[in-house]
Amino acid sequence: MSTAQMGNGTLGAPLVELTNLVKRYHGRAILDGISAKFGQGEITAMIGPSGGGKSTLLRSLNGLNTIDGGEVRVGEYRFTPGKTCDRETLQAVRRMVGMVFQDFQLFPHLTALGNVMEAPVQVAGKSRAEAETRGRELLKRVGLGERTGHYPSQLSGGQKQRVAIARALAMEPRVLLCDEITSALDPELKHEVLDVLEDLRDDGLTILMVTHEIGFARRAANRVVVLAEGKIVEEGPPQQVIDAPITERTQRFLKNVLG
């Protein structure tokens, strides 16, 4: 396990590493040999056209997808084809990797606080009191200190997504996967969620976000990866990839998005 540089907080240490990752659906390669490294504390924005494999890539990192070729390494744990069903590895990876979804997926039968407390109590074995204190802190941090007793149906989209972020953070993950988390929100609500993400940057959390918010990517990300037709077509610092793209594919994509 020599490649696992764990917990040293150094920017750029490869906490997550993909090697020649392949994922097929019905014979078609959605991910076609992806290799990439994501360092501790790095925020990576993944952009690219729909169907380019962005969400599939995220879901390969925490075992929501199986993989058909190559390898996924998260910390000391590895997924390989056929090994992804190993329950212990799955559980361990999922404890390290939090995820926030486009359509929130809050638990509708629990309050905001209940949503945040559920996993710490049920999975991490924390006491209710401890989980509640931490839950209230997290909800306060995402600006919902006054909404702890509200049910998801009583919250706006932006508020729901912030609860979802707090819920993921409650398990103290080292990696946070954000799958188009502002796509279902009204434009004026997006900034609430993006502000929260930006606020997390300083915590040393490794964030991988699939997004269409090009402006936010430029402002907040350390790195931008452009994914199209199952391949990484360009990657680098945002100033380079967004402002001065090299490849024709990236240029075409940005032209379509930015108009």
Binding site: R95, Q105, A124, R167
Partner: protein, 515 residues
């Protein structure tokens, strides 16, 4: 409602008994009114072959209708053909549920009832009786190895079986027996006596003789008591026919034919000589009253303070039975649903087979099998155990399908959200999926709850008296069908309506905790 009531009348199953021929030729026409009464020259007689031995039943070997009353009717019709000079006259048997025979008579489904029907005051409101053709008494039967019970008074607190609504039932009720177990059929009490579920059976002599003859496991004890007479019943307004039938009966009795038939069926006793004197239903009733301990019904005695507590107690039985059965059904249902959704191949198929099997077989069959069938392989369940297991197993099949569809209705994203938080499948199911599915299932479950309140009436076949059965017993005894029926309906509503409210309240309360 998914269950057929056993109480549905069996009209339509009409068996053409026999065509008699060779009556003596006479020129005189039968009285015009009787010819009009029986326009197709068919005298239809109602009876019940289900557990009808030895009165009327289908001989298992020849599949012909036989019985001591079949012989009586045959002799009677032969006499009527002579009396009325009407050689075309035929008798036709109409199968009817015994307890509903008075209603069938009133609805003109048949003309006369010859079916071990006891001559009483209370029936006279709607029916009239001919003179008695047989004097019955109650015979106590116990197991051959019984040492403690020598007569009826010895089993005052013992479980003692009898036919629901029968003269024996009335007799024991009048004497305040505390542990009467009533059955819808007359075979079952003896089966349960053999299985040890009751200590004794009290029933009419013909029934007792038929069910114990040649069976060394039983013995008859005590003196015959609770005398009464079987008469032929006719509609109150059917005087002309009643007179003709009564006269024909008198003639064949005088000729010794009735005596001959009764001896043939091995149910003769010395008391039958009294029939020579008892030449009307009134004389019979006077004679019965003179015998000690024979109760006679009186409709005006049935006030709400008498039947109210009985109905309430029966309603309690219905509620207890429903809640216990539903608890069993919900538990098994959830297990089956989970097996069907998440089990490995064979478990999945097993769960599907469970659902198809228990959904497909009639509940009545299941109850009868559990209670009367299992003792044959050495498993003897109490009536309550059989009822709760039977309802539980049956309803579990339906609950399983409700839970399965409710679980499948929870979005897949909820599983993923739970899994990405590190929850195991079991935790995710228990904490995330199930609570949401349960809310979806609440409405259909409430429906099943209400349905079960009503379906529990089936347990009368295994001797449990719940609300519907108690209503039938009380209404047939008091003839207050409407009054007691309304109260019974009210009691059912008092069970089901609050349940509906509770379900709606929970749905409202939980809807804030839902998207």
């Amino acid at each position: 409602m998914r269950l057929q009531s056993r109480r549905r009348l069996l009209i339509g199953f009409v068996a053409l008994l026999a065509t008699f021929s060779g009556a003596s030729r006479m020129d005189a026409a039968p009285p015009e009114s009787i010819r009009n009464r029986l326009p197709d020259a068919v005298l239809r007689w109602g009876g019940d072959t289900e557990g009808g031995a030895p009165f009327q039943y289908f001989d298992p070997k020849t599949e012909k209708l036989v019985g001591f009353e079949v012989d009586i009717v045959e002799a009677l019709v032969e006499q009527l053909r002579k009396d009325l000079a009407w050689p075309e006259l035929k008798a036709e048997f109409v199968q009817y549920e015994w307890v509903s025979l008075p209603q069938g008579l009133e609805k003109r489904d048949f003309d006369i009832v010859v079916s071990g029907m006891e001559i009483t005051n209370r029936n006279d409101a709607k029916m009239q009786f001919t003179r008695p053709y047989y004097l019955f008494a109650q015979q106590l039967t116990v197991r051959a190895d019984e040492a403690k019970i020598d007569d009826l008074d010895d089993c005052r607190d013992e479980p003692i079986g009898t036919l629901s609504g029968s003269a024996a039932d009335d007799l024991m009720k009048a004497r305040l027996f505390s542990n009467i177990v009533t059955y819808d059929g007359q075979i079952e009490p003896y089966q349960d006596l053999r299985n040890g579920r009751v200590s004794a059976v009290l029933l009419d002599v013909p029934i007792a003789v038929y069910n114990t003859t040649g069976k060394p496991e039983f013995k008859s004890v005590g003196k015959l008591e609770g005398w009464g007479g079987y008469g032929i019943a006719l509609r109150r307004d059917d005087d002309e026919l009643a007179k003709a039938v009564d006269e024909a009966l008198a003639t064949i009795a005088k000729a010794g034919k009735v005596d001959e038939i009764v001896r043939k069926w091995n149910i003769w006793n010395a008391e039958q000589h009294q029939l020579e004197e008892l030449t009307s239903s009134d004389k019979l009733l006077t004679w019965v009253a003179a015998q000690s301990g024979a109760p006679t019904g009186n409709p005006s005695a049935w006030t709400i303070s008498v039947y109210g507590p009985l109905l309430l107690k029966a309603a309690g039985v219905t509620v207890a039975l429903t809640f216990l059965s539903m608890a069993v059904a919900m538990t098994i249902g959830l297990i089956v649903a989970v097996c069907r959704l998440y089990g490995p191949g064979p478990v999945k198929w097993g769960a599907l087979a469970y659902v198809e099997f228990f959904r497909g077989i009639p509940l009545l069959l299941l109850l009868t099998f559990l209670y009367y069938g299992l003792p044959e392989v050495g498993i003897s369940l109490s009536a309550w155990q059989a009822a709760i297991i039977g309802f539980g197993l049956n309803y579990a099949a339906f609950e399983a399908e409700i839970y399965r569809s409710s679980i499948m209705a929870v979005p897949k994203g909820q599983w993923e959200a739970a899994q990405t938080l590190g929850m195991s499948e079991v935790t995710a199911f228990r904490r995330v999926i199930f609570p949401q599915a349960f809310r979806t299932a609440l409405g259909p479950m409430t429906n099943d709850f209400v349905a079960m309140f009503k379906d529990t009436s089936l347990v009368s076949v295994i001797s449990v008296v719940e609300l519907t059965k108690q209503y039938q017993i009380l209404a047939r005894t008091s003839l207050k069908f409407v009054e007691i029926g309304a109260l019974t309906a009210l009691l059912y509503l008092m069970m089901s309506v609050p349940l509906g409210y509770l379900a709606r309240y929970l749905e409202d309360k939980w809807s804030t905790g839902h998207k």
